[in-house]
């Protein structure tokens, strides 16, 4: 599925949810079901420095596509990581770098994008894109 279609799917899922409590509940459930990152990656090398909740992120390239895994010590942050992975994973570096992430606004997560919230969402998206850039550069050098 294209990145844009996955976003539409997520927007539809959230549209079915009511107030913030249901949305948080949904993120919490997503967080709980996120496959954990391999323990070898849960260290400082893979840590994204957000101020308040820690996020660990890894990315592997297989057959031209990037596969992300992540973990966080805060469950709502983990739920958000799970959404981001669903959107980006299994796509090419170019698709990831060119993606417009309009869904964040649409599902009411915009408040998490403010740098002062310091929950790492902004850093998480940046780090996912850095991986895409790095793999793209690697592919071009081959």
């Amino acid at each position: 599925m294209e990145i844009i279609d996955i976003q539409k799917e997520i927007i539809e899922e959230f549209a079915g949810l009511g107030e913030w409590m249901e949305r948080y509940n949904y993120l919490i459930d997503l967080g709980k079901s996120l496959p954990l990152i391999d323990q070898t990656y849960r260290n400082d090398e893979y840590l994204i420095r957000g101020c308040q909740s820690r996020v660990w992120l890894n990315a592997d390239l297989r057959e031209g596509k990037i596969y992300y895994t992540a973990d966080s010590d805060a469950i709502i942050t983990k739920g958000i990581a799970s959404l981001m992975i669903r959107i980006f994973t299994g796509h090419t570096p170019d698709e990831i770098l060119n993606a417009d992430l309009g869904f964040i606004d649409e599902i009411g997560l915009k408040e998490h994008l403010s740098p002062t919230r310091s929950n790492g969402l902004v850093s998480m998206i940046n780090q996912m894109r850095y991986y895409a850039m790095a793999y793209k550069a690697k592919q071009q050098n081959l």
Partner: protein
């Protein structure tokens, strides 16, 4: 506590009467900043509208009037903290600015390589980093007072930290995380028995306890205006006269000079020696308004109501089985740091925010303290005299909702 006029007091703070996410605001983040009484807001407004003219400079009616108001503000602060002379009250940008001033000037005027500075494990970064910076510059080193599991300073360890190289002790009056009210008088006595001066960080202390710097006998006392219901960007450094005379100036500029030539500048007298440039004079007068407001209510009344709130909150929060409190000293202010077992403080904070309950989450600018307890962060509810037991109940209920949601 029926005699405390809480309803009238809440009316004095217009900020408190608002909705957040459609819910009445319960503002429990007073350790970060406090709200402002209408009287102060109006005074600052009026000064900007009608009386703004630079102090200590121009020969005009309004400048004289403003200068007079600024110096009256200094006297108000002097009386509020019990300082012998108004020249011992220096206006700064805040507690951080005051500590940086003392750290820099001690570094320039006193410190030699190998000298030692004593601070504690429970300090705010503002009372750690300026000392670390001066230590790096001068080749001095920090000695750290450990704390107990309850969050009290280990006074025996403190006594043993002194050496013939100790040059200053800098500790907090009240911990911004644990709420511990430190035995500052004893801390000062011990230091003085070694001939060492003491700086007290009163950022969380001055607003919750009637203060008398002569009785404490501290050499320096610092605090921020915005944490005592005053404007932001204004703060106080109190110092003993002999110390303020002895220390070299911190920043250079206008007002702090006596005579300037390109060869040599001589400095102004106290307090102006430490007030370079145009100070935040309207902030200073606003701060004095807030202090007068507090004095009008009566600090003893405020203190006893805050004790009542503290005891109520302690009992209420202790009723939550999954709640672990950090800071259980017998002597504490109404500051509560805690985590819900198995739930990240950030998750908890985000959810209770939606109930209109404002707290702070994270490390509270005290990372070494977090490391001491082996935690990533806490939630902190910090109360003051305009808070109510109803707001505490709402915090309590919101925390229970978090526990249900996360189960």
């Amino acid at each position: 506590m029926n005699d405390f006029p809480i309803e009238q007091i809440r009316k004095d703070f217009p900020f408190l009467d608002q909705l957040v996410y459609g819910k009445p605001l319960a503002y429990l983040d007073n350790g970060a900043t406090t709200q402002k009484p209408l009287r102060m807001i109006e005074a600052v407004n009026r000064l900007h509208r009608e009386q703004n003219a630079s102090i200590h400079r121009s020969v005009n009616f309004l400048s004289d009037k403003m200068t007079q108001a600024y110096e009256e503000a200094r006297t108000t602060v002097q009386k509020f903290i019990g300082a012998p002379k108004s020249l011992q009250v220096i206006f700064t940008s805040g507690a951080t600015g005051s500590i940086n001033l003392v750290a820099f000037s001690i570094g320039e005027g006193i410190l030699e390589p190998g000298d030692e500075i004593i601070i504690s494990t429970m300090e705010h970064h503002s009372n750690i980093v300026p000392w670390q910076m001066v230590c790096e510059r001068r080749g001095a080193r920090l000695r750290i007072i450990p704390i107990t599991d309850e969050g009290d300073l280990d006074m025996d360890a403190y006594r043993n930290l002194f050496s013939d190289r100790t040059r200053i002790v800098a500790v907090t009056h009240v911990s911004n995380v644990l709420g511990t009210i430190n035995p500052v008088k004893e801390i000062v006595q011990i230091a003085h028995s070694h001939g060492v001066p003491v700086l007290l960080d009163g950022a969380q202390g001055v607003q919750h306890e009637p203060l008398n710097v002569v009785d404490l006998d501290c050499d320096f006392y610092v605090f921020s205006g915005h944490k005592i219901y005053g404007p932001t960007g204004i703060g106080i450094l109190y110092g003993k006269e002999e110390w303020l005379e002895r220390l070299p100036p911190y920043q250079g500029g206008g007002d702090m000079i006596d005579r300037v030539t390109f060869e040599k500048t001589t400095y102004n007298e106290l307090p102006f020696k430490f007030e370079a440039g145009t100070t935040n004079f309207i902030g200073a007068i606003g701060l004095a308004e807030s202090l007068n407001y507090l004095t009008g209510i009566g600090l003893d009344k405020i203190l006893s109501y805050e004790h009542y709130l503290r005891d109520y909150t302690t009992q209420k929060l202790n009723g939550i089985r999954q709640l672990k409190m950090y800071g259980t000293s017998a002597e504490k202010a109404a500051i509560f740091s805690f985590v819900l077992e198995g739930i990240h403080p950030y998750d908890t904070g985000m959810i209770i925010d939606k109930f209109g309950v404002a707290v702070r989450t994270g490390t509270h600018c005290a990372m070494p303290l977090m490391q001491r307890f082996g935690i990533e962060g806490t939630l902190r509810a910090s109360l003051c005299f305009y808070n109510t037991t109803d707001e505490v109940d709402r915090l309590h209920d919101a925390l229970n909702t978090v526990i249900d949601l996360m189960a």
